[in-house]
Structure formats: C-alpha cells, structure tokens
C-alpha cells in the first residue's frame, strides 16, 4: 500500500504539470501541446505559431512556477516541523511572510516601478528572519520556544508595518495592489527569468535539506537526546532553519503569501507514509508541487477571472486535512 502511495505521489508531479499545459482560455489540442513540448525539450522550439508561444511563454513557466513554489513551501514546512518538534509549525513561523509582505507593500505603494517588488520583498523577508535569529539564538540560546516566540513578535511587528504602509498608501489602487499581492499569485513569477532566479535559490537549498533528512529525525527527538547522539542541536537547527528560511523567502517574494501548503502537505505525507522525516521530506516535495499546480489550474479555470491561489489552497486544504485526521491516532500521540 505504501509503495503504491509513493509511486502515485512521485508520478503525480510530472503528470499534473503535463495535464495542466492543456488548460487555458485559448483552446489548443492536447496532441499539439505535446508536440510543442517535445520540440522545446529537444531544443528545437518552433515559436512561429501563437499556440507555441502561449505554451512556451505563458503556460509552461506559470505551471513550473506553481510547482516550484509548492515544492519550496512543503519541503521547508516538513523540515521545520521536524527540527522544531512541532507538527503545527509552518514555513511562516520564522517571520518571513510578514517580512516579505511589508517589503512588497512598501515597494508597491511607495517605490518607483523600476524597482522589482520581489527583490524588496526578499530583502525584508530575510531581514525579518535575521531579527528572529538575533533574538532566538542571541538571547534564547536557540531553544525551540525562543524561536517560535521571537517569530510571533517579529510577525506582529511587521504586520503592524504592513498596516501602516496600507494606511499611508497614496491611492486606493495601490492598496488594492497590496491586497492582491497578499492573496498570492504564482502568475507574478510566471516569466522564465523569474523561474531561473527562484530555482537558483530553491533547488540547491532543497538538495541540502534532502541530504540531511535523516539528521532532521535526530533533531526531532529533542535537544538532550540529540546531544546524546552526537548532534549539536543549537547550531544545526540554526543552519537548517536558515536554509528553510531562504527557500520560503524565495517562494513568497515571487508568489505572495500562499497559505496552508507548508503546513498541510507534510501532514498528508505523514498520514499516508508514517512520520520518518526521510520520507516526509522526499514525498512532501512531490506532493507539494502537485498540489500547487492543481490549485493553480483551478484558479485559472474556475471562473473567467484568475482567483488568487492563496484562497484556493486554503479552501482545498481544509477538507483534505479533516478527512485525513480520521487516521491521525496512529501517527501522533
């Protein structure tokens, strides 16, 4: 049964990416889409037809962006849950979201257009994380409770800053732009250069976490036990949290705030495959990618307007988790 789940989860990602290429307001026959894709993969792209341009310049990068953001948020969530010994932790516990939100709001409302929003968001996201690190590891010796508490404090401060930015925004249009950004939209990252820049951060950092997946098991036992097994929880947690923070910051700066993925996906994997971090990390990556690709399909296809994906991930996620909770007794105690 578990092997079946594993195979399904792994294959769902490429499958959902390919199927999603067929979806869009401009009708393109599936065989033609596959032909265009084949030409592109074999490095002979033919961009003379509008159909090819739509697939290569619009659909494919947007779908890849969704997959990448999904991978990023779920791998970051899975590893943070393990290293913080807390199944309720999401990638947003480290202050990164509110940091990115404040930066994006300031950029959208006050900064000239030529300054990229995602750059400002990335800078403030990392600044927020560094404040959390300074408080938690500077004064709190890197204990889990000090990390979570300083995350709460920094989140509150930056949220207040966000409200200020909205309040003083020069026009209602700018407030609307901020609100829309906050709802999350992978289309914001739907250009090839964006994909390349996001991948440059997300892929190497994810590889580090995947390689350390057994170590995250050890950290999840608690500081004393981890120490007795030769680990240094204070420094190792700082290292792995920073990697997760970078991944999250990259995803959030480009795609806005997409909730629930980082919390939900690792839980689904745990309920299907068991708690071992080695498997939770690996399969969260695939399932998270699939989940966001499908959510983005819905956000594009449900109505004539694109519904912000952050709303859909929550609406889709809640019932899934409720159904899976029926099995939860075996997994948590």
């Amino acid at each position: 049964m578990k092997t079946l789940y594993k195979v399904l989860i792994v294959f769902s990602l490429p499958l959902s990416i390919i199927l999603s290429l067929f979806i869009g307001p401009y009708p393109i026959p599936p065989l033609k889409v596959l032909g265009i894709l084949f030409n592109a993969i074999t490095m002979h792209p033919d961009l003379s037809t509008p159909a090819a341009r739509i697939v290569i310049y619009y659909r494919l990068p947007r779908i890849l962006a969704a997959a990448l953001v999904g991978v990023a948020l779920s791998i970051s969530g899975a590893s943070l849950q393990s290293m913080m010994r807390n199944p309720l932790v999401s990638p947003y516990v480290l202050g990164i979201t509110s940091g990115a939100a404040l930066g994006a709001a300031v950029a959208l409302a006050f900064l000239p257009l030529f300054i990229p929003v995602e750059l400002v968001a990335m800078i403030t996201a990392i600044a927020a994380y560094l404040i959390v690190v300074a408080i938690a590891w500077g004064w709190g010796r890197g204990s889990i409770i000090s990390i979570v508490l300083s995350g709460v404090v920094v989140n509150a401060l930056f949220s207040a800053g966000l409200s200020l930015a909205e309040f003083f925004a020069p026009s209602p249009n700018k407030v609307a732009a901020i609100v829309f950004w906050l709802m999350g939209d992978v289309g914001q990252a739907g250009q090839w250069p964006d994909i390349v820049r996001m991948s440059a951060i997300i892929i190497p950092c994810s590889i580090v976490l995947i390689m350390a997946r057994w170590r995250l098991n050890i950290l999840s036992l608690g500081d004393d036990e981890a120490r007795s097994l030769g680990a240094n929880p204070t420094y190792e947690r700082l290292f792995f949290a920073s990697i997760s923070a970078l991944i999250t910051a990259a995803a959030v700066s480009y795609a806005g705030i997409i909730g629930w993925v980082g919390l939900l996906i690792p839980h689904i994997v745990r309920l299907l495959l068991g708690s071992d971090t080695r498997e939770v990390i690996t399969y969260s990556l695939f399932l998270g990618g699939t989940y966001l690709v499908l959510a983005d399909d819905l956000s594009r296809a449900l109505t004539s307007q694109v519904i912000p994906i952050g709303i859909l991930t929550t609406i889709m996620g809640a019932p899934v988790l409720i159904i899976l909770l029926r099995r939860a007794g075996r997994v948590w105690r």
């Binding site: 199944p87 057994w214 007795s228 030769g230 068991g274 071992d276 105690r333």
Partner: protein
C-alpha cells in the same frame, strides 16, 4: 580482575541559579562491570547529575570518562562512549520502532549521511535479541511503556555505547516490566556488552537487588556512597526521605521495608 575506573567524578558542583546550589561536592567512581544506582528524593539532583556526566550541563569540578577529561572529548566521540536512556517522555512524531532504534547510529555518521543496510540488519538483530522483533514495524505510539523502555535500551546498544546512563528506567513500569528491564541491564553488564551503568532510581529495593554501588543524594549533597548494604540503612534513609524503615532479611541480603503505622490485621 583489577578495578578499572571508567567514570570518575571529583568535587562536582553545579547550580542553575546564583543563590542556590543544585549539586555540591559530588565525588564517586564507576568501575568496570558495575551498576551504580543514584537515589534520593524528588529534586535531590539525580537527573542533574546524569546531565552533567552526559555533558548537557557544565559544572565545576572534574568528570573523567574512560580516563579522559569530559570537556576534551568531542561530542560525537562522547556519543560513542555514553548511551543516554531518557525517562519516558513525549515524542512528537510516532516513528516506527525500527527507525527509532536506527537513530542510535547517528554518532557514527556525519550530518549528511544515511544509515546503511547493515545498520538495518543490526537493528533487527538487536530487537530480536531483546525479544522485540514483532514490534519492529509498529510505531512508538502503539507500544507500551515497558516495551518503549526496552526499545530505548536497544537504541543505546546499536549506538555501541560502552556506558549506559539511565534516567529512572523503572519508575513508571509495572513490577514485571521493571524486573525485565533490570534483568536485561544486569545481563548486558555481565556479558560485557556494556562496561558499566549509572541509573537514577526511586525504589531502594531495586537498588538492593540489582546495584553494585549506590549513591544517596539529599538536597544536592552526597549523603552516602558505597555498596547498597552500606548506604541503604534505616538511619540514612530516614534522614533523607523522612520515613522509618524496617530491615528484613531476604536470602543473604537485607531489604528495607517502610514502616506502616496502624496497619490493619487482615487475619482477624
């Protein structure tokens, strides 16, 4: 066989806060082949003493492990000498027993490594030796407290720890599991799979039956240290616990029984 000292504690003191000493001037030795029981009331400093020896806390004075100053032993090497068997505790994620035991291999690997196939085989073999083979695929949420205690010992064994430090291994177990655990520890020491054991205990009876040495703590001070028959005496226990004890002869040992006043006579 000559006495070989494997752990030496000298004038160890420690305090969590500035005004109050948690432990003061503790000195003792653990020799090869010995089981040392640390007794004392709640809050006497038993667990703190274990944590100091494990290097989780740092006090003043000296601790030597296998002849080397504790501070000079890198953490990973220390983890291959000392095996920590924690008190029953909350584990957030319900790992499978086999995966949990396997984590004992961590001191033998770097941060970016994974346990090998032979580690798995070894883990299964150890579970089998302890009679736990049928639990391997269960999660630790599904097994009993007594079984979990044995799983923790299995993890220390696969860690290839030479000395076990056990925090109240039997206080939450029923008598059958308590005896099973203590018999196992005794067997491991007798077979030389473990060179020595330090454990905190609540029950003087367990110390009398299974320990070679006992250390009695009272408010962070050493009340007595020596063989169980020297340390576990009514006058000393009365001083530490405030309870009167009777001595009962059992085989060639003396066992302490708390005096119960106004005991009803069931025969009448």
């Amino acid at each position: 066989m000559a006495l070989v000292t494997i752990i030496e504690v000298e004038n160890l003191s420690f305090s969590y806060s500035r005004d109050e000493k948690t432990l003061e001037n503790i000195s003792f030795k653990l020799h090869r082949g010995e089981i040392l029981g640390i007794l004392g009331p709640n809050g006497a400093g038993k667990t703190t003493l274990l944590k100091l020896i494990l290097g989780f806390l740092r006090g003043t004075g000296r601790i030597k492990v296998m002849g080397t100053n504790l501070q000079k032993i890198p953490r990973r090497r220390l983890a291959r000498i000392l095996g920590y068997v924690p008190q029953e505790h909350h584990i957030v994620f319900a790992y499978r027993v086999i995966d949990y035991v396997l984590m004992g291999r961590a001191p033998h690997y770097g941060i970016f490594s994974m346990p090998s196939r032979s580690d798995y085989e070894r883990a299964y073999r150890i579970l089998e030796e302890l009679g736990l083979a049928n639990l391997a695929e269960k999660t630790i949420a599904e097994i009993s407290g007594g079984q979990f205690q044995l799983v923790l010992i299995a993890r220390a064994l696969i860690q290839e720890a030479k000395i076990l430090l056990m925090d109240e291994p039997v206080s939450h177990l029923d008598i059958s599991n308590a005896v099973k655990t203590m018999e196992l520890v005794k067997k491991l020491v007798a077979e030389g799979k473990v060179l020595g054991v330090i454990m905190t205990l609540h029950d003087p009876l367990m110390a009398t039956l299974y320990c070679d040495k006992t250390l009695l703590l009272n408010n962070g001070m050493m009340e007595a240290y020596g063989s169980p028959s020297e340390v576990l005496r009514p006058d000393k226990l009365k001083k530490v616990y405030g309870v009167d004890f009777d001595i009962v002869k059992y085989n060639d040992r003396f066992i302490l029984v708390p005096v119960v006043k106004n005991i009803s006579n069931h025969d009448n």
